[in-house]
């Protein structure tokens, strides 16, 4: 009973928040509604018994990802209203048909595969975090390490892309100035090699 009440409550809240995110023309409303929606989604993980995943969802999404987006919003000019796109109706039609086919596939998949059996059954004697740790560091150890390398690459890429020439505004310069700056930079690099 409580599970049903919680499910419907959080489902309505999540759908409402994400609808605001998609439909609003104010960037600030969009980011706030999405942060709320992420926290409501973590409620589903707690209902489903995936405690560790729920905690990660709150920490990573509402902590890290939202902070990054807030930084981006401060950097970009988001005070003006967001203009909507006028899309080609044919593209919308094709994408809509594809989405409908995919939804049907999603609903058919559990019916077709009734004889699925758990490869890594949830151990009822240990908590969720411990069970996740045991599976993650045995069966999924290599993907875990690859994900770590991927995050490192993303971090370095973010620093290189965003942190370069933060003191200069490339927007306010014209093309010749940028080209000149590039030449000076190249000359410095050549000098550094010798």
């Amino acid at each position: 009973m409580f599970e049903a009440v919680a499910f419907y409550l959080f489902a309505a809240l999540t759908i409402g928040m994400f609808t605001i995110t998609v439909m609003t023309s104010q960037a600030l409303y969009a980011i706030t509604a999405m942060a709320a929606g992420m926290i409501f989604i973590s409620a589903f993980f707690f209902i489903l018994g995936a405690d560790f995943l729920g905690a990660i969802q709150i920490i990573v999404y509402t902590g890290a990802v939202m902070a990054l987006y807030a930084f981006g919003m401060m950097f970009f000019d988001t005070t003006r209203n967001v203009v909507e796109k006028r899309t080609n109706p044919q593209i919308v039609f094709v994408l809509g048909v594809l989405a409908a086919v995919m939804v049907v596939a999603i609903f058919v998949a559990p019916i077709v595969s009734n004889n699925i059996e758990a490869l890594y059954p949830i151990n009822p004697t240990v908590g969720n975090s411990q069970a996740v740790g045991m599976v993650l560091f045995t069966k999924y150890l290599v993907p875990f390490e690859v994900a770590a390398v991927m995050l490192l690459v993303a971090m370095i890429g973010g620093i290189v892309l965003a942190g370069k020439k933060m003191d200069k505004s490339l927007t306010l310069m014209d093309e010749e100035e940028i080209a000149m700056m590039q030449r000076i930079h190249n000359r410095h690099q050549e000098k550094g090699e010798h």
Partner: protein, 101 residues
């Protein structure tokens, strides 16, 4: 009134549809990123629900990796967006036509 796997899958597909609507109607690239986050979260719900109802932890593992991928996507995407904004002063999709696509 028991909540079954189908309930969660319906919710997941509804959220995915909302994300798709966002991808199709947004022109501002930052708003487009928001819509992709919604898409990733919808799949996360489906993974966690299937993991719970089948009694297998693999679904939660996939959800973890999706979260890691989403985090790195945001870092790289925002970095590229900042470089683009420094060059042009705009982050609209319509302005990105330098490849004449």
């Amino acid at each position: 009134m028991e909540i079954t796997l189908t309930h969660y899958l319906v919710l997941s597909s509804v959220l995915f549809a909302i994300g798709l609507i966002g991808v199709m109607r947004r022109k501002n690239l930052l708003m487009l990123f928001f819509a992709t986050e919604i898409l990733l979260n919808a799949t996360n719900i489906a993974f966690a629900a299937i993991s719970h109802y089948i009694g297998d932890l693999s679904g939660q593992m996939f959800a973890f990796f999706i979260i890691a991928i989403a985090a790195s996507e945001v870092a790289i995407g925002l970095g590229l967006l900042i470089v683009w904004y420094k060059r042009t002063g705009k982050i609209d999709l319509d302005q990105m036509n330098s490849m004449r696509g």
